[in-house]
Amino acid sequence: MRVEKGINRPQPISITVNGVSQQVYPGETLATVLFSAGLQCFNQNRFEQRRAPLCNMGTCFECLVSVKRSDNDRPQRLRACMTDVEEGMVVEAGEGFSITPPLGDRS
């Protein structure tokens, strides 16, 4: 849901959230977009607890989501509240997304 009355927005761009394409507007953060898509839980922490944005200003790290800038990019775990949408972003978020870092052997 977005306020429409009296607001002029730029041309929408599209990103993919959990496999579904979404029309979003430049200047919006991922947190805004995920909330407006109806998501309440953004991730599961390492204790398998459901988490959602708390501070909306970059300090609590409760809003981590998985972001790829393009389909074959390496996924990064970014703070949704600090990340602006970009055309073609592929985002994984919600209960199915565990933020536990994948500490594989990279030696």
Partner: protein, 396 residues
């Protein structure tokens, strides 16, 4: 006028531990801090317990020769004291003494590590030489670039947020009085007693406290406090940075340090990886010396993180969640200053050096000095007397 046997200025690890060892022996102690318990370097440091020789000692033969006879007994005393601390303090202090690695990546660093290992073995320190592969076997995840490492089984880490408050609580339980926030503004000795003038930081009221002895435990600000007692103490503030990543699955079993680059790495029980190693922040110069919050230096932060990623590549996948700064004090010879000033009887100091690793030991030895009025053998190399030329026209 309130009267105490000993007034301790500074409620960091040194001040609080001193208060504990003295109060336990029945001494009437007051601890004053212009901030809060543990608000200085003691609550902001890396928490590394490093018992291997420091880089600067290997580089300076003269310094090393002077130190060598004291090094092993001091180190062994430190190790033994740490092992008994959780039980003695009766609370969790996040202590892990599972061992520490010092790694080398280049031929030059390997040569330095060799030299270090020879000196350490000669003076009886427990270190083991590992090839790169052996190091990776011991600590999986270390980079291929690691070509050799020295392992010291007694090294580790402790939570700086827990250690000093634990000492403070035990000191209080033993009868020590804590006054904070309370700034010492003047120190004078008359009729064989010390008069400590201090000001409650919030209320603004000034008060004079009488003491037989004063302990200068004010960390990076120790020279400022010494001057209030009309003494020069050449100890300089340096601002350092520390960083922490998000919590990650357990990868690091050991403290990891570097022989040729500024780096320390450890993983705490919650899973976060602490990254430090002595990269400097920018000290504020406008305010009083060493006062004010240092500024993070992004260039140095990047170099610190690059060193971390080079040695433990898994760090590259982690989010950095916080970087902070702390101010610690160093002397010209990098040794701590511990003892009594000949020019000012009853004025003691303990500052500088690796004050977290050795803070409990410095404090215990200094308390012994105060209780017996005899300088413990182990403190000989650290006496403030080595700066007495500076105090020829000073003192009480």
């Amino acid at each position: 006028m309130p009267r105490y046997d000993v007034v301790i200025v500074g409620a960091g690890v040194i001040g609080c531990a001193c208060a504990y060892y003295l109060a336990r022996a029945g001494v009437r102690v007051a601890v004053l801090d212009r901030n809060q318990v543990n608000s200085g370097a003691s609550g902001r440091n890396a928490g590394s317990l490093h018992f291997q020789l420091e880089y600067r000692l290997i580089q300076n033969q003269d310094l090393l020769d002077r130190q060598l006879p004291f090094l092993l007994p001091l180190t062994l005393a430190g190790i033994e004291q740490w092992r008994s601390l959780p039980e003695e303090l009766g609370v969790d202090i996040g202590l892990k003494m599972t061992g520490g690695l010092m790694v080398a990546e280049t031929p030059k660093q390997i040569a330095l590590l060799r030299k270090k290992s020879e000196i350490e073995t000669r003076c009886g320190l427990n270190v083991e030489w590992l090839s790169g592969d052996e190091a990776r076997q011991l600590q999986p995840g270390l980079s291929q670039s690691v070509q050799a490492a020295l392992f010291c089984p007694d090294e580790g880490h402790c939570n700086p947020r827990l250690l000093t408050p634990a000492y403070a609580r035990q000191a209080e339980a033993a009868g020590a009085k804590f006054l904070e926030p309370c700034e010492v503004v003047d120190l004078a000795r008359t009729g064989g007693k010390w008069l400590v003038r201090c000001r409650l930081v919030n209320g603004g009221a000034e008060e004079t406290i009488q003491a037989e002895s004063v302990v200068n435990a004010s960390g990076a600000w120790a020279s400022e406090l010494a001057l209030k007692a009309n003494l020069h103490l050449p100890l300089f503030p340096v601002a350092l940075m520390m960083s922490v990543t998000e919590a990650a699955p357990k990868v690091l079993k050991y403290l990891v340090q570097h022989v040729g680059r500024k780096l320390s790495l450890k993983q705490v029980s919650d899973g976060n990886i602490l990254v430090g190693g002595g990269w400097s922040a920018k000290l504020q110069t406008s305010a009083k010396q060493g006062a004010g919050k240092p500024e993070i230096r992004l260039d140095n932060l990047q170099k610190n993180l690059a060193a971390a990623c080079d040695v433990l590549p898994a760090v590259r996948d982690l989010n950095l969640i916080r970087t902070w700064t702390g101010i610690t004090g160093i002397t010209l010879d990098h040794l701590p200053v511990i003892g009594q000033f000949a020019e000012a009887p009853g004025f003691y100091v303990a500052a500088g050096g690796s004050g977290f690793t050795y803070g409990p030991t410095y404090a215990k030895l200094l308390s012994e000095y105060i209780l017996t009025n005899r300088q413990p053998e182990l403190l000989k190399p650290y006496s403030p007397d080595r700066f007495s030329d500076l105090n020829m026209f000073m003192g009480q």
